[in-house]
Amino acid sequence: MARTRGWGNWIYLLPAALFFFMYMAYPILRSMWMSFTNYQYLSTEPAQFVGLQNFANALNDPLFHLGLLRAATFTAIFLPGVIFIPLFVAILVDRVGNQRLATVYRLILLIPAVIPAAMIFVLWRWLYDFEIGPINTILRDYLHLFNSFNAPQWVGVSPLALPAVAFVEIWWGLGYHTMFFLAGLASIPRELFEAARVDGASEWQMFWHVTLPRLQPIMLILVILRFGSAMAVIDDFIIMGGFNRALPTYTWTVYMWHMAFQLGTWPQGYASAVGWLGAGAMLIVVAIMMYVFRNRD
């Protein structure tokens, strides 16, 4: 083994690199190359290089605009909920004096984190169902707030669809993100609070001036990570909505998948361009956020 340079140690990374190139880097680059062609999966004609035509078309595609707008709306609803609710819960759980009880709380909150994504959406599609879903059953048959004509339509073509799906995502991530904040809270030295208390700071001031600044790095990372995952959400929308263009859940991601694997001759070249444009738009926002957050530190 080449001790001096350490190139021999790359043997440990070889399996990881192999999978990374085969099923991540290569397909991503392949999709980029395809986005410059008019490749259609079901067409027998050979694909032709069309330059930036797909991108130009996508930029003028009202469905793509609408899809981005829908994803952005979803993100705007989801992001505050997935940051502040777990923060709130973490601060509460952190204060539980009884260690056994605190562990029980953590365990219960973490249960959704070990339920796979698709299962979560199947569950909530069911809970939200207009006719047989328990939410509407309770509202209609037990509380008598609605009848079977005016009961809320939670998913489907309904203004409630995006908030409803956002709620599901927040529900799913509640325990996991609470753990992030609990880890952050645990790393704050207790002396800081003692010192602040000696200086006569109120509890609210301590939260504002000691706890929050210490948690800020975690919050900023979570904001960026969750922004990315929210803009790219697709499984929820397919499972809970489907492929109807009128659905608020028909976002750019669903549009891309729909085109690539179901519509017409499967125009995967154009779908790749839509995918890359959407991803590019996201990355620009992420870069701006990173820049802004860096200055603030």
Partner: protein, 298 residues
């Protein structure tokens, strides 16, 4: 939420005082527990509802009663005895998940160890690439390409065709978790082993791995959850009813009448989420330790 938070901020001093027996519990402590319990119920009630539905008689399931008049526990056995295709889907999920978890864990241990403790030219680049994949919608942008690769390799509608891309789904995160766990081990230990003449491989197997057990548990659970419930790739790469995994079947059949009556679907659902919850319950001590040891720090 601000007023609630400030009132809670006030309890900090209270909770730090050593507990005195038989002391009256302050009202704000009660409120605090009440709020936490509310969130716990919010988590539990939907799951309990499915559990309840899975033991409802067919009639009660369709009359819209929340609490059934007649219980029927045969839906589980019905699924096992009368629905062979579902059993097949279940087996598919088990195979795909076990393979993904094992391979990803091994790869992540190797890579995480090298990144944390070995001299590695280009380690900074690797770290940047790993981090970058977390911010990039890789799954979305790569799915068309993955479909084409699997089509060329003849892996559409096969289980290896799912396992191979599944391994990359959480690979970056797994490597970073493992690197974080290994970084908690002091470098002196590694140096001491080297001075004693142990190869880097022996150091990993004999010294590092026993110390990283909690991290392996975290990795196992994270990858289990991803592979067991993965939908989009499975939906894209399999079409055949018998090759599909359990979540895809559940997600694409809404349920209704006959074989797919709601209580039976609920029973399938419980069967699908129970392995994860059970594994988590048994391993929770190591899981929590693993999270604290660095799985959440990257």
């Amino acid at each position: 939420m601000t007023s609630a938070e400030s009132s809670l901020a006030n309890t900090r001093s209270g909770s730090r005082v050593p507990p005195k027996r038989r002391k009256r519990i302050p009202a704000r402590t009660v409120v605090m527990h009440a709020i936490i319990i509310f969130f716990c119920l919010l988590v539990l009630v939907p799951l309990l509802w499915v559990l309840l539905t899975s033991v409802k008689s067919l009639r009660d399931a369709y009359t819209g009663k929340l609490w059934p008049e007649v219980f029927d526990f045969t839906h589980y056995t019905y699924v096992f005895q009368k629905m062979p295709s579902v059993l097949r889907n279940f087996a598919n999920s088990i195979i795909v998940t076990v393979a993904t978890v094992i391979v990803t864990t091994v790869i992540a241990i190797l890579a995480g160890y090298a990144l944390a403790h070995l001299r590695l030219p280009g380690a900074a680049v690797v770290g940047a690439v790993l981090l970058g994949t977390l911010f990039f919608p890789t799954r979305l942008v790569s799915i068309i390409g993955i479909f084409q690769i699997q089509r060329h390799l003849g892996l559409i509608d096969t289980l290896p065709g799912l396992i191979l891309p599944y391994i990359t789904l959480n690979l970056a995160l797994s490597i970073m978790i493992m690197r974080g766990i290994f970084q908690q081990v002091s470098p002196e230990l590694v140096d001491a082993a080297r001075v004693d003449g142990a190869s880097s491989w022996r150091t990993l197997i004999q010294i590092m791995l026993p110390l990283a057990a909690n991290g392996v548990v975290v990795l196992g659970i994270v990858n289990f959850v991803t592979a067991w419930g993965e939908f989009l790739l499975a939906y894209t790469l399999t079409n055949d009813r018998f090759t599909r995994t359990f979540p895809v079947v559940l997600a694409t059949t809404f349920g209704g009448f006959g074989e797919w009556a709601f209580p039976r679907v609920a029973a399938m659902y419980i069967m699908a989420i129970l392995p994860g919850i059970l594994a988590f319950t048994f391993l929770q001590r190591w899981y929590m330790k693993g999270l604290q040891e660095g799985a959440l720090k990257f």
